[in-house]
Subunit: 474 residues, 2 copies
């Protein structure tokens, strides 16, 4: 068990109140992995003395960290860093806390959500396209170039998502980013610009994507959690609500519940945004793989008022390491985004842009989706059946009709899903606790990725889950 | 001549006062290229009527745009978009205003500053390394991976800049970015976080890098221009100065004057930062090519107080299209940066990281610098001599002892350097007007890149400059 020396607790630069500084300093170290899961914190008295702070300041900071899930403590015991608490990438497991090489390997654990089958990445084709483009890259394209993307790439991506996702836009509306999260960060910052910190309301799904929520907070928003049911985000459940400046939503495949937003709800959220002048961030992170027919088209495609910014990514359909995402912007936000991108410069290497353009044009992208869909469908089906059979009445499964992950909700809400996730990690599985994805009342369960679970291993995985649930429920 | 319809003038989302909205809307369109150089704006009366604004609001917005160099107007004539006004990349020419394909080609014009000789990019090696790495990339490395960089890459970059630049740091202090500007944007945002907009002072060089200045403004800073002389930024020239939160400086090769900051000034700026708790952003954008001996080491290497964030980039030494830059951070800023990067995810594609690691390890990087240095030295020498010979007493040249560009200051300060730059662009040369890089009193001249100027073309380039100066001065 690691014990933390007070001297190791950093105080952030220029960071306002002391409690906030201490909170952020500790949080950073937990997020960065310097404070690993299970590490014991100094007592509040000890830390207060060594930092020259009032003990109440330290107590407040600890309480805040505990409330947000970074720390765990029980009466009379030292506070410890919570097992899975860092804002990992969507669905990826705790990483730095278990050392780098083990951590990266843990992305390959069966049941890790949010990661595609990395072993199926088309490395040979990708290498060939990168090399071919690099060798014949015109000198003119190696400069600062078009900060909004290689000519032709914008059009090719739009042509793809027009067909697959019903996105309707002109080429100048599409902007490249290295990741969904970097797109959310920039768009939120621009949409909320000029509003005092905390004044702007951002409506978010509950449960939802904690990283996006944290990015919205950092952009200065106050979060308003909106409950999710089987038809998606239900605005009607929040009777007294300040008008939003921003609405973050995952309509195609709600994260983490996996439900698809109904058309009525879609029209409702569009209308709210139209009336309030809010920007809707539609995060379409995992819509390429559908197992029972065509997915509902993107919200962006039915937006008549120009309030939706649509965000897509290659992270789930190809691999996160490619670092290519794109946002389709409403015209109102376009000048500000174009200026920001022109000011900061192109974010994606020209060789990556060029290789992906060829990957799209030459049909490799569609071929990859065609090849992976039945594989993923089989893995999802095998896992669903195995869990139903092994856990029966103890769990309720999410839809699992598409995408790379499925939530398993525990019927017994007293089960500690963080402990369950940790126990499963020790057995070689990488699910994430669903309670960590709630802002309001937390429902326990596990978000399970199926991308790397061979059907023949589904039974063993389900048995491990059943054992952990039973063990915890006893 | 393009005339702008009032209907085309956008009003930004949620953007505060009307004058500010109009200002930003027009600025965005100028920056984005939708309003090209020379485009005529509607009269203030006409625009006020069609937008339903007070005429004084429109007048104020126009005046602000004019003061910042976006618009030009003379008594009794319509306002027009200024010729070279967008925040181009450092040294790169106006781009969108002249259409995309012509624009990209214009980066290849001789005398374009801020761009290396793109035709000398080692495309064959780069393609080979990309392909080799892509083909054998382990599945584990294709995931979300280490958001702070591929293991080994951090160490290899640090080993290089320890020797070449005297940068002293541990591997965990280095973070990758796609570009210098994206690093400046994040670091400034984090360093100024929690301060009300405009409250934080950022000291910047005058003349200086306008894009960096604009990024600092966007991060909420108020700029304090500090004059530059032959020994770099001279803080002593600013007697009444509020303490800085941030100091942006280019000590090795001041942009655009090309001077090297003296040690006395280095120690002075370090001491100011130490006393005020400011962060120094050391932008070491163009220090790899030195024509007369070893460059002065980086400010970072002599920083005892941990106040310097050092930023380096491959844009000048290899090519901007590679999109790889790095920041070496002081420990005080590290947790906040690590958290921000963990939250937004890795910014650089894993294949680019891997190829550059091999490029460094296999000695290609040093070989490229060794190969290019005498080429650039010859181009610089030929250009200096030709300009001295052709323009003689009309100009004063910057040092030109290293780097890819040299300023040519006009002795006759009445010469319009924007017009001169535009005239030279029409003759196939790409220098930039130095007056545009001033915050205070502007001194005219041309910033000229030598990277793409063959020695045998130096005479013709110098003659073209002489002709333009004479024509304008007559």
């Amino acid at each position: 068990m690691v014990e933390i020396q007070p001297a190791l607790v950093p105080m952030n630069r220029g960071a306002g109140d002391l409690e906030g500084q201490l909170y952020r300093g500790l949080r950073s170290r937990i997020l960065g992995g310097a404070l690993a899961a299970g590490a014991r914190l100094p007592s509040t008295r000890q830390l207060a003395t060594s930092l020259g702070l009032a003990r109440s300041t330290v107590v407040s900071a600890y309480e805040r960290l505990q409330a947000e899930g970074y720390l765990e403590s029980s009466a009379g015991r030292a506070s410890r860093v919570a097992p899975i608490a860092r804002p990992a990438v969507r669905g990826s497991p705790a990483r730095r806390s278990i050392g780098r090489s083990k951590a990266v390997e843990s992305e390959l654990l069966p049941l890790t959500p949010g990661v595609p089958d990395l072993a199926s990445f088309p490395s040979a084709v990708w290498g060939r396209l990168l090399a071919a483009r690099a060798r014949r890259m015109p000198a003119a394209d190696l400069g600062y170039g078009a900060p909004l993307g290689l000519p032709g790439l914008t059009e090719a991506i739009l042509a793809h998502i027009a067909v697959s996702r019903g996105v309707v836009a002109e080429p100048d509306q599409l902007v490249l980013f290295p990741s969904t999260r970097s797109a959310i960060a920039l768009l939120a910052r621009l949409a909320l610009r000029g509003q005092p910190a905390g004044a702007a309301q951002a409506w978010v799904e509950d449960p939802g994507y904690t990283n996006a929520q944290q990015i919205l907070r950092e952009a200065g928003a106050t979060l308003l959690p909106v409950p999710v049911d089987e038809a998606g985000m239900d605005i009607g459940k929040v009777p007294h609500r300040p008008p939003p400046s921003l609405i973050y939503v995952t309509p195609s495949h709600q994260y983490p519940a996996g439900v698809t937003m109904s058309l009525a709800r879609r029209l409702q959220v569009l209308e709210v945004a139209r009336q309030s002048g809010a920007l809707i961030l539609e995060d379409d992170y995992d819509s390429e793989f559908q197992f029972d027919g065509r997915p509902v088209a993107a919200l962006q495609g039915i937006d008549q008022a120009g309030v939706v910014a649509y965000i897509g990514t290659l992270s789930k359909v190809l691999a996160p390491g490619v670092r290519l995402a794109y946002a389709v912007l409403p015209r109102s936000l376009l000048p500000a985004v174009q200026m920001a991108v022109a000011l900061q410069g192109m974010a994606v290497a020209i060789h990556i842009q060029a290789a992906f353009l060829d990957f799209l044009r030459d049909g490799h992208f569609r071929a990859h989706i065609r090849r992976m869909t039945p594989l993923y469908a089989a893995r999802m089906a095998a896992f669903r059946e195995a869990v139903q059979s092994a856990c029966g009445p103890h769990v309720r499964l999410g839809p699992g009709t598409g995408g790379l992950q499925i939530p398993i909700w525990f019927e017994d809400e007293r089960i500690d899903d963080r402990a369950a996730a940790l126990a499963l990690q020790q057995r070689g599985y990488g699910p994430q606790p669903l309670s960590a994805m709630h802002l309001g009342a937390a429902r326990p369960g596990l978000l399970c990725g199926i991308a790397m679970l061979q059907p023949e291993r589904a039974g063993a995985a389900a048995a491990a889950i059943a054992a952990v649930i039973t063990g915890n429920a006893s």
